[in-house]
């Protein structure tokens, strides 16, 4: 299957996004902020369709809107934490806005489907480089903030006392999470970012109590699930997103069985 350009591009894209999504996802799960990833995907949909409407690559619209949304969530911080209803309404509004943009863009249904559910086999060479560049910047950002982020996530009060600025760390992290969400949306669509961001990370947290091993395992699982999904899609001709979501859920359930069905909460 590697004789086709689109397959090689798809494998490269899945690797890049898997590493970034796994690393960022591990911290999202640790901080109980997975809902933010879900929210950012929806907000990104309006950005992607809006960008298409004014003739820019949807990926840039996606990244722009998720970044703005991530920084906003970070700045609002705790005040937002208890507001499921407000967040839900903003999400619905963002999806509705995206639909309106599509209406004016008079796009074909296939493009809507690609945004909502991803189009890994449609990733071209240019997009691979774009994903790689954004991924490198994001991983660089994570390397910079990982230490205070870990401290502030586990012991916010103590971290603040020791001189960490929890608000700044939170905003920077959500900015990186926004890019990871946008990249994941490019692979599995805005509706299924959980499959790459949360599934592998949650499974990794069940498998190892060590921090370094957990982050590495999350990234490894995300890449493996992406590649396995691609291979399965190649063989069956079913959508790659279906397979990735299936492997993500399957691995998560298996780790649950492996750790003795112990509920975490």
């Amino acid at each position: 299957m590697f004789e086709y350009d689109f397959m090689r591009h798809a494998f490269a894209a899945a690797a890049i996004v898997g590493v970034l999504g796994g690393v960022v996802g591990w911290f999202l799960v640790l901080r109980a902020q997975t809902f933010a990833g879900h929210a950012l995907g929806h907000i990104g949909f309006a950005g992607a369709t809006g960008a298409a409407l004014i003739g820019i690559a949807p990926l840039w619209g996606l990244v722009g809107m998720t970044l703005a949304g991530g920084v906003a969530i970070g700045l609002l911080g705790e005040r937002l934490a208890q507001r499921d209803v407000a967040i839900g309404i903003v999400l619905a509004f963002a999806l509705g806005l995206g639909l309106l943009f599509l209406h004016f863009y008079t796009a074909y249904a296939s493009e809507t489907t690609a945004l909502l559910f991803g189009n890994l086999l449609g990733v071209d060479r240019h997009t691979v480089w774009l994903l790689a560049g954004l991924g490198a910047v994001s991983l660089g950002g994570m390397a910079l903030i990982a230490r205070p982020l870990l401290f502030a996530s586990l012991q916010p009060e103590l971290a603040a006392a020791r001189g960490v600025n929890p608000r700044l760390v939170s905003v920077l992290f959500l900015a990186v999470a926004a890019i990871a969400t946008a990249e994941s949306a490019e692979i599995v669509g805005v509706l299924l970012v959980f499959a790459l961001l949360v599934g592998p990370a949650a499974a990794a947290q069940r498998l190892t109590p060590r921090i370094g091993a957990g982050v590495a395992l999350a990234a490894g699982l995300a890449v493996a699930e992406g590649w396995a999904g691609l291979a399965a899609a190649y063989v069956t001709d079913w959508p790659s997103t279906f397979w990735i979501a299936t492997f993500s859920a399957g691995v998560y359930l298996l780790t649950g069985l492996a750790t003795g069905l112990a509920p975490r909460r």
Binding site: A143, P156, R162
Partner: protein, 270 residues
């Protein structure tokens, strides 16, 4: 040099004075129990000492310098124990509290040795190999104490370390803190709802209430007249077999406060 010096210190939250013009000093190697009803300002005072809350008026000096954030000589065990990361190994959890530096959380040899030293001080070296979720409340408390001891503080602030522990575990935690405090020769502020678990261990008691503070030996502070002023209601102190009961109109004030706090925690309010 004193560990803490307050002079005419007023601390306010949301425009309301929690502590009003209090003056007191805690010596360098002193174990001080901090008591008082809910909302009396125990946590507020600790946050001010850490530099997380600026005084509204007056002076607050910590180890000879004005209170400021990022003072490595002050260790802290917050009351709000993070619920995040319970699947993590104890060692990793303790080590996460290294310092405010940016970058990757790789721990160098010196840093790893410091974590091991802190764990050994509280006899938690073996505990630290297990995930937090597999530890009891008292065992987790020991890891939190090790975390507070990172950076070799000369002043340790412990906010309600006894909450949700049974009396036997409470006695263990108090004895452990006393032993660490004496072997390191540091000052400790140890807040609690009830005075009795601390009786054998503390050098002096700091009792907060009604915006005021009283500090001194137990026999001088835990008396009807002093506590009546702090609770702003007539208080009678009973002493039975070396244990104190702070009574108001037939009700035990410290136990009432404790039950109230439990109702809070179970209600989901942090």
């Amino acid at each position: 040099m004193n560990a803490i010096e307050c002079e005419g210190l007023t601390l306010a939250l949301g425009g309301r004075d929690i502590l009003h013009r209090i003056t007191l000093a805690v010596a360098a190697r002193e174990f001080v129990g901090v008591l008082g009803p809910n909302g009396a300002g125990k946590t507020t005072l600790m946050r001010a000492i850490l530099g997380l809350l600026a005084p509204r008026e007056g002076q607050l000096r910590v180890l000879g310098r004005p209170a400021a954030r990022g003072n490595r000589a002050v260790g802290y065990m917050p009351q709000a124990r993070g619920e995040q990361g319970l699947h993590l190994r104890g060692w990793d959890f303790v080590a996460a509290a290294g310092g405010p530096r940016w970058g990757l959380p790789w721990r160098g040899a010196a840093e790893r040795a410091a974590v091991d030293r802190a764990l050994a001080l509280v006899d938690a070296t073996a505990l630290a190999r297990r995930p937090l979720a597999a530890l009891s409340g008292g065992e987790r408390q020991r890891l939190l104490l090790a975390q507070a001891l990172l950076g070799e503080p000369r002043l340790l602030l412990l906010d309600e370390p006894l909450i949700s522990l049974d009396p036997h575990r409470q006695a263990e935690v108090v004895a452990l803190v006393r032993q660490v405090q004496q072997s390191l020769g540091i000052a400790v502020l140890f807040s609690a709802h009830e005075i009795n678990p601390l009786l054998g261990a503390m050098d002096r008691v700091l009792y907060l209430g009604a915006g005021k503070a009283a500090i001194g030996p137990v026999a001088e502070v835990i008396t009807g007249p002093v506590l009546s002023e702090l609770y702003a209601t007539p208080i009678e102190v009973l002493q039975v077999r070396g244990r104190f009961f702070v009574m108001s109109g037939g009700q035990d004030m410290e136990h009432a406060a404790h039950r109230h706090e439990h109702a809070h925690t179970h209600g989901g309010t942090p």
